[in-house]
Symmetry: D3
Subunit: 337 residues, 6 copies
């Protein structure tokens, strides 16, 4: 059966000390796997869609374990290539209260960063697919990865597939200038843009989410400008109020057809913040692929990602039923028995 959604990017081994230990205290690591686009594929399978993940991992047991982790949660892995030097990885130290979570990336020279666009047959990969998704992390990895991302988006666009990108600016990977140049080119092939990073030359005055000061009009203006320039059908931005590393407010903005919508805000206690943005993205894609109106899709997405904050690992294991329950306002959380 064809996948309904295809995502493409790097998958990494994630190593985190147990509990609240700091990295310098660690004598063991919990091992899981994740990456922005892989996280989206897993969540979509979890909701019952068919999703395929496109990537490259080394031909050794570590690369195999990354594939196995995706298969475990139902992702189609037939288009993951094997070869190259290594699986990128990252160390995650979980924060609490006023101590922030800390990420140490170790992704240089990874198999995926070194892949050539021609190694993939996108005509076949994207055959019969409804949606293609990637993020701004992928082109940030290497010049080869820029070419790869462009080829994938271009092919998808040509086939009439809905395309999306989560801008996801990572300052440790590339400069703002470089990012702006590359992403501006890529966005020409994009229908849905996640992320209101002022990457594409737009900024919002006087908005400091951390303190709860939110310039909604500024967001609206920015979304309008972005739409004018790139022709996006939909733009989203998740909004986090960090009361502490443990307690956050969480909501989102969506913009489409010249209208902006602000979802319900949830107060979340954070078990694991990594992948929460991706869980919003997968919720939105699920909603739109299954025909929800944009505002419903946004409420589904924000409820899904609110739940993700309570789940360990990069992946969102919240079920469709749980997301729907929360969305319907059922937060009483009594044990069902």
């Amino acid at each position: 059966m064809s996948a309904q959604v295809v995502t493409m990017g790097e998958i990494m081994l994630r190593l985190s000390p147990p509990g609240f230990k700091r990295l310098v205290q660690a004598d063991s690591f919990e091992a899981t796997y994740g990456g922005a686009e892989a996280n989206v594929a897993v969540a979509l399978c979890n909701y019952g869609l068919q999703a395929s993940f496109v990537s490259k991992v080394p031909d050794n047991p570590v690369g195999q374990s990354a594939i196995n982790h995706l298969r475990r949660y139902g992702v189609d892995t037939q288009y993951i290539l094997r070869g190259g030097d290594r699986l990128g990885l990252y160390f995650l130290e979980t924060g609490v209260s006023m101590r922030a979570s800390q990420v140490v990336y170790d992704r240089v020279a990874s198999s995926f960063a070194d892949v050539n666009a021609c190694e993939f047959d996108f005509d076949k990969i994207l055959d019969g697919v409804s949606w293609f998704h990637t993020t701004g992390i992928t082109p940030a990895l290497s010049p080869k990865a820029v070419a790869l991302t462009e080829l994938a988006l271009k092919t998808a666009k040509a086939k009439g597939i809905t395309t999306s990108i989560d801008l996801n600016y990572r300052k440790k990977l590339w400069s703002k200038e470089k990012a702006e140049t590359v992403l501006s080119t890529l966005c020409r092939y994009v229908d849905v843009c996640m992320g209101a990073d002022p990457l594409l030359g737009f900024t919002i005055k006087d908005s400091d989410m951390t303190n709860g000061n939110l310039n909604l009009q500024g967001f609206n203006n920015m979304f309008k400008c972005m739409t004018d320039r790139f022709g996006f059908k939909c733009i989203t931005a998740s909004l986090r109020e960090s009361y502490s590393a443990s307690d956050n407010g969480w909501s989102a903005l969506v913009y489409g057809k010249s209208r902006m919508y602000h979802t319900k805000q949830y107060n979340v206690r954070v078990v694991d913040r990594v992948g929460t943005g991706d869980s919003f993205t997968s919720g939105l894609i699920y909603g739109l692929v299954t025909g929800m109106p944009m505002t419903d899709a946004a409420e589904f997405a924000v409820a899904a990602s609110a739940l993700k904050h309570t789940i360990l690992g990069d992946f969102n294991h919240a079920s469709l039923a749980e997301v729907n329950d929360l969305m319907m306002g059922n937060e009483s959380n009594r044990i069902q028995r």
Copy 2:
């Protein structure tokens, strides 16, 4: 030495993923044992009473481990039979914030559900005993268990022993109708009734604990009706406000001699919610068996169960001194050293 309190019911193996992992992420389980009536017996021993637990477990190392777990905390296990097919078990996924705890029961065909009333010599078991306790879960297990529960209560009543039942309706085990029929029969032998489930044909209008709307007059009316019908000497109801799966308000109502009393409310952060109702019950029994007035017993019970929310496992390991301290208002929680 004779037990002062005897409780009877099923004990199950409890399997829970470590930390906040979901069941689908689990590669190992923490193993402990529990069950509504067993939990009461352990807490009473913990406070210094002699308690005996009546049940049946399979004659294999898993059944033996359940017995050992009770012995470890001082419960008399001489009246636990060995035989039958299996020990019931349940999987527990611990919730946090807006993700509710989840319980997957796997208790069909258990040794206890298949026990015949005649396998126990209640005359001997209840000899010299002050209090007999069971719950509405026990008769819900099987028709044989209904007969067993009735025999035990009837024998206790005949011997002048104080009897109590925690209604504890479990919709996965039986229908409301069936429960109402059976429990109405059993309540004829009961002195103290825990639980204000509208099981016995009574309801309260406009009371939604979850949102903090509490119709106290409605409770009072219901308690009065229940007393009129069954002749209970005491009725209790624990009240939980679920701010989230992690933070709850916790208090209780007790009713006796035509008067209702509402205890102090505690704000609790939830480490483990399973067994908190049982910890209220054991606190109340402890108070009444040791001669406290009903209102004091209720305050002891609610303080005990507030502490239980912070303790892992089904059992309440809060000590007598800790409960008394909390009851006396000492919540400052400085380390004693």
Copy 3:
């Protein structure tokens, strides 16, 4: 793509105390999943074949976890039904030296034991398949399971698919008499028979594998009689010499076209004995499906299963390369770097 091999049976949750702890000492369990036929499917995927597993699991996170565990290792799970009461499980205590491993089964009332043959569409499931495999454990589970096994084997036979059964007598599941009756019927549809249990009315005199006394002529006679009666194309028997629970001798006999062959014997140190028979079976099926002569297939199978003894869990994670290396006599075990 069609599966090349389909296996059918029960998959169970396996709970084992960490390290060498006994069950009565356990405060946690390692959780994995396995079952005779599932183990075969996983190993075949591991060697690069397409394998599908047919079963039924409950529609809850425990059933889902069993499916996920199979998917992780590449098994096609589309024909696993969801429903029924529970996932069977077993407790495993790992033996060492003179203390034997101990298994406590808890599989009554499982979803699979209660499945009706008509719930599966074998015409579709077996379409384009080369080999169908099940074991004697499956019909032992329930009368429904007998009907299911017969239907599956009959359909496979009718489609010209090679069929195999591992006799795998489990005395805790049924009597010898019952087993003989049922298996004699089923064997009419079987091409390859694993196991020389004297189940089908044949016995070998003076052969005590434990002490290393092996009556090879007796085996040969028995294999001949079995072939005469059932028309098997191939029969196998694995041979274990138990020096202790930790050290075993391991070899196998295969019989086909009127000739018996005794493989090389390996001295194995046992890390995990469960599933070693299944690893022999999967090795043999792999060999025969990929066109090896019977004797080569047997050597592959015995090398594969020798390696399995060193691997934790029911599944054989030895790679094709590792099996081939061992088969070629490379046992020096230096670290490759």
Copy 4:
């Protein structure tokens, strides 16, 4: 019900690094509890006898945990006093191959070492008892403990109870001279003496168990001299051949009624050596209390203690059935299923 056997001594917290880690590598410790006399009490309960343990532990959660650990395995703990400074403890590093196990004792100033004989009412404790057991470790702890041991043995003797002592010389606790003086006095009250340490002034020439050179005649002579001097009814000595820290030969000598008997020798792979001597002692007491002839009791004891080598912790969790099986020669160790 009265205990059939009473043992008296110190129980300690045992802290060991997980797996084969050395102490300097440890970041966590497995915690269990044990002590020579406690180990005997647990094993006897495990075989179905009633055993009571006499000791003193501090009145804190650590002392309570020691009591709980005994209760878990069925030991009567009503005569364990609470008070004093601390629970003794020891660190255990498990050896393997040519690296020996290492024990670091930390038992100074323990509650038990400081107990006064008058704190116990031995008349009551020993009422109706068949056997009293202690070891040479107890009087080695302090002068108070010498007085305590003498009082207990004297009282037991006066009541016609069979008394036993395991000499168990610990050079880190006292000098040979001191030990000889004290033990010679105590042995006047002893019926059964475990241990052929040349403590009491006897030596054996040319016997080096480590190398397998065993001067049986020398043992016989020593046993005869010991019997002549102290009037022992039975003397035993366990014999260990240490091929390595991981593999040992294990057998025993018993002497009584002027005859010496050498049991079967087992080759054991060592999972945990601590408590193996105590498991021999408990096996012997079990045999003699239940009426076995001395030689049978010795075979039971050596089989029981052979199994103990495969069990983690101080306690012997081998069941009666397992010991009998091994004693009957059933060592094939196939999984029963």
Copy 5:
């Protein structure tokens, strides 16, 4: 290179059950090492200073592990002696919500408590040093320890080294009267005094930190009196509001040159409260040694110790950059990537 700061005291093994388990539930312990003065030395090294710790540990692998733990975090351990009976230890049960943390000390007869002052060559140890720190716990251990503390302080004072003491009254170690006598003597050699325990004969009326009632004028008066009597250059007091065992308010007072300063208050969620006072002390010493004004040093210290509440173990592993960030008001806690 000379140490810039020398601290002296006892280092203990700390044993704590994993997660929120109570001591009576523990089957394993996390092992780390700590002590008031050792904690200060580690934090100073962590900030980049050279610190040396003076103590005595037993000459066994447990003592060695304590030394190794200090070396791991950069502390100079050349002046730690080896010998004596044992390493003191303590059991820590971590509280949550209304359940307080519980500490069970087991430090009698430790190597350090029995050390003679003459075993150390303070002339050499303190050569070239800027600051010497100890606490009121040290002289509380034994009469020998009183002499040792006095010698160390006296020598430091004579060499013109800044001296500090954290009063740290431990009622389980000595009486108020004894403490007052000893500490009054020692304070004659002290420049900086941490702790406003009314140890030295001063009290504050109507101040109940637990309830947030803070009599600042009373503190000011007390600090003035203390300064008048002992000539302290600086006095500090940390202020904890315990909303629950999990959530605290945290700030501090410093007094010097006749002026009192109250720092910013932080709301902290408590992961580990042990060592938080020491983390304030080390922050203050760091600030003063590196030339900050007293008020800045106090803000650094309170920020450092606020972060410590989120870190497991006795030691403060917060980095200089993290403390500075928090001090600068950066609490938004976004992941840096």
Copy 6:
């Protein structure tokens, strides 16, 4: 104080699944640190020498943890630079019986491989040092590393310091031809050469250690040729007979002053094989630095490395006393207590 021995090389994070799990089964990793030259430095500190390790690690918590791990065991880390991209790492799967251990290196682009020789001040580093050691792994890492190694060896030689190299050929890092060229150049500065790899153009006929066929005369000839060409004062070769991945024979050859010596052979059960060669090297260096004759040093080295096989991790934590005991023939391994 000056170091007595300086070693230089790469230190890596080592990640291994717990117990005998395979990499594809791992959900967590034990984390430790090691590398051929670091392992030598740790063992020397362990025996009481002063050793310093020269390397470069990234300036992040992972690099810091590597440094901390060395400090924990007493190594001087002042000459370890901070900077560059990443810490190399490797995955280790522990073999057993006929399943070999498996290593997956992930060391490309490491901070150390990219270091420039001029970043180190060898004049200072080697001041007052007696011995300098490195291995053939170091120059294999990169051209920069070749230059670095040559500079270090040349400087050491010029200062009259004894120099050693362990040839340690790693085929995954470079070709035989490249290795031969580079090592031939470096060996001009080397006094002691560990390893009889036929790297330098020499081979031995008819010697297959795996099968126990040892051509001693061939070794002698090769050593002579090597000495003639490079002027080595001493050459060593460790000899492993791999009975299985779990059981090996272990001995060594040393050659000096025209004479070859074959040490005692030990039968070792393997807990961890990684670092066993380095433990031989460190034993030899210890022996020679402390003045033992070459044959004694070799016996010390082979006993030390026999013990290392029983110790988890790269480092040898066997103590001086334990090595001496084993060397003296004390293998009985009784617990000392």
